[in-house]
């Protein structure tokens, strides 16, 4: 994102590593539950799956403190502006996981009411298929995102 970062010097590189390490270890999701997937997202935070292991049990109600928006569920046309608003309120760097079929493509509800894919509204980093994806599938999505962050450049 920043021109000054390239070409990365050694210090910057290791700083980037540290930053990315911190970001992957402490990724606070915004509580953006919409529908069925939200229940599975909640289930992922509970004892059997325990998102806390990744430092992610800190679901922030305020988007200002969230790093990750898990779009869990179907996004209706009425909700779309709100979703974008919440995304805009999140501070950089921020990531979006599109959880489940409805969020990713509208799923089986290929109709007038739903946004056919949340990537029309916000940039999505990871898509998690499933309807709803089980907690483990969601965790796999999170791990995918962590890999993406770790392999990426440091961004501000």
């Amino acid at each position: 994102m920043d021109q000054a970062v390239t070409p990365p010097g050694i210090i910057l590189t290791s700083l980037g590593k540290v930053a990315n390490w911190a970001r992957t270890r402490s990724m606070w999701p915004a509580t953006f539950g919409l529908a069925c997937c939200a229940i599975e997202m909640m289930a992922a935070g509970t004892a059997h799956y325990d998102l806390a292991r990744f430092g992610m049990e800190v679901f922030r109600a305020s988007p200002r403190q969230a790093d990750l928006m898990i779009v869990a569920g179907r996004v209706s046309q009425k909700m779309a502006p709100v979703l974008r608003n919440v995304y805009d309120q999140m501070p950089e760097p921020k990531w979006v996981i599109s959880m489940g079929a409805c969020a990713s493509t509208g799923g089986m509800f290929n109709n007038y009411a739903l946004v056919q894919g949340v990537d029309q509204i916000v940039p999505v980093d990871v898509y998690v298929p499933g309807c709803p994806p089980g907690p483990q599938s969601l965790i796999h999505g999170i791990l995918t995102l962590q890999n993406k962050i770790m392999s990426g450049e440091i961004t501000y």
Binding site: Q77, T105, G106, N110, N111, Y112
Partner: protein, 185 residues
């Protein structure tokens, strides 16, 4: 399975013309229906159904509430576009706790002239619980409920155009994305 003829525009007239007025066995229901000559009773899939003209809807509802139907459980509509003469039908489900019976009201609502919305009297003054249901029906079918305290869109955005559950409203599907299909986006 033909007591509710749907396919066939003559259905409405046929229903009105039936000369010996059938009445249900249940005394409460029978008593209620006897008060209204224009209301026709049917048994549809085993459930008591009253076809109520929309002019008498509110009176009938008030009488029904007095007769013991405490609760309005459901209110919706059906769009019989190109199936019946009278395009819309508002369907109201009433439940009586004391008699443990249900009664379904069917109110034919003509579509009205082009540019004019179909109207039906609101049941909110009789059953406050009709509020949301009527708003939903308005939202989905564009049926105006007269004297409703707050008849606005409830499920769809306020600036939405159209009424999705009408039969002439397309479902609005987009092509599904595939790699090998010609519809690749």
């Amino acid at each position: 399975m033909t007591e509710v003829p749907i396919n066939g525009a003559e259905a409405a007239e046929e229903a009105v013309e039936a000369p010996p007025r059938p009445l249900p066995d249940h005394p409460t229901l029978a008593g209620l229906l006897e008060q209204f000559d224009a209301v026709e009773w049917r048994l549809s899939s085993g459930q008591d159904t009253a076809v109520v003209p929309k002019s008498q809807l509110r009176d009938f509802a008030l009488a029904a509430r007095t007769a013991g139907f405490e609760m309005l459980v459901d209110l919706t509509a059906v769009d019989y576009l190109r199936v019946r003469k009278i395009r819309f039908e508002v369907v109201v489900g009433l439940l009586s706790l004391q008699h443990n019976i249900r009664l379904r009201l069917r109110v034919p609502v003509p579509a009205g002239e082009p540019g004019d919305d179909p109207t039906v009297p609101s049941l909110v003054p009789v059953y406050p619980g009709a509020n949301f249901f009527e708003r939903e029906t308005f939202d989905m079918f564009g049926i105006i409920f007269e004297d409703h305290p707050d008849l606005t869109r409830i499920l769809l955005p306020d600036d939405w155009v159209g009424h999705p559950l009408r039969k002439d409203f397309a479902i609005g599907a987009v092509p599904v994305q595939f790699k090998s299909s010609p519809q690749v986006t």
